[in-house]
């Protein structure tokens, strides 16, 4: 298996180069705006501009954002059954726009930078470290599980009663791997934290970006009432 969830975030655009904290703050502000507006379509222009500035493949963004549709459609269907078409449309527009903003934000920020930004904004360090390790080793574990499944299939197929044993083996090998990782960390001077070489800082462009997004959202709400 060769998933590469960080493929987009290795690109280069004005948004890619911004500090993760600015992107997280702008994302939270946009999500709050979209989530509470009475006219979500008014936000489509902002989301569209962000998608263009990100230089990410537009079709890819649309496809990933559309993954929320099965869930939203269920809620929309309930509204339609109640005869409230406007509400159904608003639910779909809100969720699609929110998903698009999230897809763009994650697409322009490597996962490690996103976690670092969360840590610098006060998220518990332990939680961040656990998430970082989970992200790093999740695919290694997937591969291990896939190999075990192939081994089972090669010898006659999958059986539920054997699955429990397989999970136990996977747990034991994960535990062993964790010990190995800890040894490797100690060997290179682990002192309880993961210092970052990420040199981005919250400078003038970041202040301008965050303030600009917030000011625009406030203006939309107060002046135009959307």
């Amino acid at each position: 298996m060769h998933l590469d969830p960080d493929a987009w975030s290795r690109g280069d655009s004005w948004l890619h180069r911004r500090d993760g904290r600015a992107k997280l703050l702008a994302l939270i502000a946009l999500l709050a705006g979209i989530g509470t507006t009475s006219a979500p379509s008014a936000y489509a222009a902002i989301v569209g501009v962000l998608a263009l500035v990100s230089r990410l493949p537009l079709r890819g963004i649309a496809m990933r954002a559309a993954l929320v549709l099965p869930f939203t459609m269920t809620f929309a269907a309930v509204s339609i059954l109640g005869g409230d078409w406007a509400r159904a449309q608003a639910v779909i527009a809100r969720s699609l726009l929110s998903a698009t903003v999230v897809v763009v934000a994650i697409g322009v920020t490597p996962f490690a930078s996103l976690l670092r930004a969360a840590e610098r904004m006060g998220a518990p360090r332990l939680l961040v470290q656990v998430t970082q390790f989970l992200y790093r080793y999740l695919f290694v574990l997937f591969d291990e599980a896939a190999r075990m499944r192939w081994a089972a299939q090669s010898r006659g197929g999958f059986r539920w009663d054997a699955a429990g044993g397989a999970v136990a083996v996977l747990f034991a090998s994960s535990y062993q791997r964790a010990e190995g990782i800890h040894r490797a960390m100690l060997s290179r001077g682990f002192q309880g934290s993961f210092p970052a070489i990420d040199a981005t800082r919250f400078g003038a462009p970041e202040i301008a970006m965050t303030a600009g997004v917030v000011a625009l959202l406030v203006a939309m709400r107060l002046i135009w009432g959307v």
Partner: protein
């Protein structure tokens, strides 16, 4: 000049009662590349884990004249760089460059200095182009090189490599031999790979049941313990 590593009467027993080391005496001199040979469970890996204090048994270990102990541990780990058998366990940071810089930042280097030294170490082992990739996406050979770069970046005086050719294809094995030959550090290499042993070793030490059973020229030790023939027999079982 004295030995870089001196081990005297080293004994270690795992929690399950397995006696992994039963009195090991060992010396590493500057400029040497010592190959540790021996069957599975003979104590090679347990022994190398004692060289930077990851395991502590009975007996004495001195590194560059420093006795193994809590007070010297940080200095000793700076002197002894360990490259583990499973590169996936060694490459735990999100990108290759961040991984190579990990030890440097722990040593107190500034971000800029750590970044440039880490980049230089990656170039040194020939994978500078992989700097911004996730370790998961590297090939086996690239992972091995990235793991070595993370240790080399810290400029250790002694390099310890545990089964470095595991999961490498023959071209990868040859490249690793070439790379190790160019590194000036004294080295300790545990391996079953007789090609690697002959290619880089200046001396070999044979482990058997937690003891040093013999030591000498690589070819002599391989012949004395009938190691290549033994391996062939093992492989054909």
């Amino acid at each position: 000049m004295g030995s870089l590593i001196e081990a005297r009467g080293l004994r270690y027993r795992y929690e399950d009662g397995t006696e992994a080391l039963r009195g090991v005496d060992f010396d590493l001199d500057p400029g040497e590349t010592v190959i540790l040979l021996g069957g599975n469970g003979s104590g090679k890996t347990t022994f190398v884990l004692h060289l930077n204090g990851l395991l502590r048994g009975e007996g004495e270990v001195r590194v560059c004249g420093m006795a193994m102990g809590e007070t010297n541990l940080a200095s000793i780990r700076r002197k002894v760089g360990v490259v583990f058998q499973d590169a996936d366990e060694q490459l735990f940071m999100p990108t290759v460059l961040e991984d190579a810089a990990y030890g440097l930042l722990n040593l107190g280097y500034s971000r800029g200095e750590a970044r440039s030294r880490a980049s230089a170490a990656l170039d040194r082992v020939g994978i500078g182009h992989c700097a911004h990739r996730a370790p998961y996406h590297l090939s086996g050979g690239e992972k091995r090189r990235a793991a070595i770069a993370g240790v080399l970046a810290m400029e250790p005086e002694i390099l310890v490599l545990d089964e470095p050719t595991t999961s490498l294809d023959p071209p990868g094995q040859r490249e690793l031999v070439e790379l190790l030959r160019t590194l000036p550090q004294a080295k300790i290499v545990t391996t079953h790979d007789t090609g690697l042993a002959r290619g880089v070793g200046t001396r070999a030490v044979f482990f058997e049941a937690g003891r040093v059973a013999g030591s000498g020229e690589v070819a002599d030790v391989l012949n004395r313990f009938d190691w290549e023939a033994y391996r062939d027999r093992e492989a054909s079982r």
